[in-house]
Subunit: 380 residues, 2 copies
């Protein structure tokens, strides 16, 4: 099977190298920008790949919604398999592209778009064939986990931890999609799409780690807890599907032991029980190895990951949680608190009653509109 | 696809129930012993299944090498797919049965024989298509993990912990294969067979948990460590393959956080890096869900898990380890010790130099032949 690659950055280069040495696979052309075109195997026009009848499959590793989505459509229309590591593009256009690929009898696979080297989408897509998945959740962003871990285990401030993550190559030049929780959110959307055939798409319940401070770390640490940024998705009893992202405080369990930039994601099968997968969520070879898994899967006849008839949904029917809230003491009455963890000058750390998660996200959003700072994290 | 089941115990019943409600699958006859034959769907003669042309696949959940292996051969010769949860039988006859199934164009799959609900064999068999697995290791026996955890976190003695495990259904009436480490060893053999096409078969380097005492737990705990029973398999630089089982002391990491009767197994891909899977390693529905994964895999065309040309090997080329050894103080000079952890009456707990693991297993075996007790555990 001859494989062309779109993009020759971290992931694209890794894919090219792995394809070169994989039995049954052969390298086709690589699409790059004109100023990057330095090797004979590189091309700069997508049409050179689309019209190349010898290319059987195309791997997209450019990132961004466009032009990746338009290139994907051209490639699939020309009758080639399509594999991508691009979560933003799949979150936005995956359902339509998967339908097109199905119509053409070609593959549309995106293992590398969620979990990097951690085979979560593959395992979910196998598990749903014989089990009902009741929930999925985990640490799906290595950048934020690295920062949270450095702040909690080494007492660093946010800026220092972010600078270190950048220096080590764990954070991109613009890390805003990571820090805001949107990267984690896109990944859990894809997991829900695969597991439930419903892709939650309201990004209202997405909280990142911008508000977390060294002082918060200290207070939570003092209680024996550790904060992780957790993306959750699941199925309600009425059949509706939800997804949200927020910091969560763990006192025990697997998540607490996930250090540095690792990923760790669990799903619960009604029959199989809880299954947890842990590994490298990013990086050249872990991500490229997920792409290779899709390519070897195509050779074995696996063409589909997005379920037929998958739809987007705006439901916000989230579970109830108790929260730690840190806010100015005059704001504390806005929350129904059951316990005070700490108080310092005009700041309090309080624990709320059980509230629906969407209520907490809405409340904090409205308080921030008033120009006030709030940190919150659900308590496990 | 019509599925017959051999055996109607814990796993067999679970498989029957899950097949009944799985799309695309249909229940065939269930083979039981004459005194268990109480339902119209039950039969007592394997020939009734072998000669039933409407049966497409047979799941074996009887346990034991015979008659399971002979039944498997008959089933496969009659042109039916074969799926089993029986690790002892696959360790003994799997290579030959897989060859026969390949010749007949039928499936021979055994996901449920290693890790129960934890999809380790499935993930290994997918991973080897595009990556090189350098090592596999983990907690593959829930019974021993339950006992070790109870002894270490609750200070129980071995007998009390074993009695509790039996009362909770976590240990069988005869738990000797679990406690001796042989159950873990058979599982790591299967993982090596799948990952390397070489099945180590010398059971000389298999140490269980019989020697572990509440006092050992206390000494190791006092140093911040926790003991787990670890099965390891891997590839040496010269291409030889090894497998062994022994208690290991962890001071950190995933394994340390594995409580109760859970399983946790990791493999390292040269490209994908370390990937860890955690979940229920036994029990009716977790194990049955692994069988169902194989059955739905057959419908998608996955017929093979044991690599073509897999061979058994007697190699004992194990890695070097440092060990904690607990022995009578007059025996301490038999070990090259670098440190003493504890001494009490005539007993010492010492830490050895790095030694090849097979040397430690041999040495302890010869000391025990003299009628003396030794506990040992490698130090992570």
């Amino acid at each position: 099977m001859k494989v062309a690659v779109l993009g020759y950055g971290t992931v694209g280069k890794g894919v090219y190298e792995m394809v070169r040495s994989a039995p049954g696979l052969e390298c086709g052309p690589v699409l790059v920008l004109p100023h990057e075109c330095t090797e004979p195997f590189m091309v700069t026009d997508i049409e050179d790949i689309v019209s190349d009848g010898s290319v059987d499959a195309v791997v997209e590793a450019m990132g961004g919604v466009e032009p990746a989505a338009s290139f994907a459509e051209k490639v699939i229309r020309s009758g080639k398999h399509f594999v991508t590591s691009n979560k933003a593009m799949v979150a936005e256009k995956g359902i339509e592209l998967a339908d097109l690929a199905r119509e053409k009898g070609k593959a549309f696979l995106f293992s590398a778009a969620c979990g990097g080297g951690v085979p979560i989408l593959h395992n979910l897509s196998v598990a749903v064939k014989s089990d009902r998945i009741t929930g999925i959740r985990g640490i799906l962003n290595g950048t934020t986990n690295y920062i949270l871990d450095a702040m909690q285990s080494e007492g660093m401030g946010f800026d220092e931890a972010l600078a270190r993550a950048k220096a080590l190559g764990y954070a991109e030049a613009d890390p805003s999609a990571d820090l805001s929780g949107m990267d984690s959110f896109r990944k859990i959307l894809l997991a829900c799409a695969v597991a439930y055939g419903r892709q939650p798409s309201s990004a209202k319940d997405v909280e990142g780690i911008y508000e977390f401070t060294a002082k918060d770390a200290q207070v939570i640490n003092g209680r024996g807890g550790a904060v992780r940024l957790i993306a959750s998705g699941g199925l309600n009893e009425n059949g509706s599907v939800y997804a949200f992202v927020e910091p969560v405080i763990f006192f025990d369990g697997m998540e607490k032991s996930v250090r540095k930039n690792f990923n760790c994601v669990s799903y619960t099968g009604e029959r199989a029980g809880l299954i947890t997968l842990f590994g490298q969520g990013a990086g050249r070879y872990p991500t490229a190895s997920a792409v290779l898994r899709d390519l070897t899967g195509i050779m074995d006849g696996t063409l589909e990951m997005m379920p037929h008839g998958c739809v987007r949904t705006e439901e916000r029917n989230l579970p109830q949680r108790r929260y730690l809230v840190r806010c100015d003491s005059d704001m504390a009455s806005r929350f129904s608190a059951t316990e005070e963890w700490h108080r310092e000058a005009d700041t309090v750390w309080i624990i709320t009653d059980l509230v629906p998660a969407e209520e907490m996200h809405d409340k904090v959003r409205s308080i921030r509109k008033e120009g006030r700072n709030v940190f919150f994290a659900s308590v496990e």
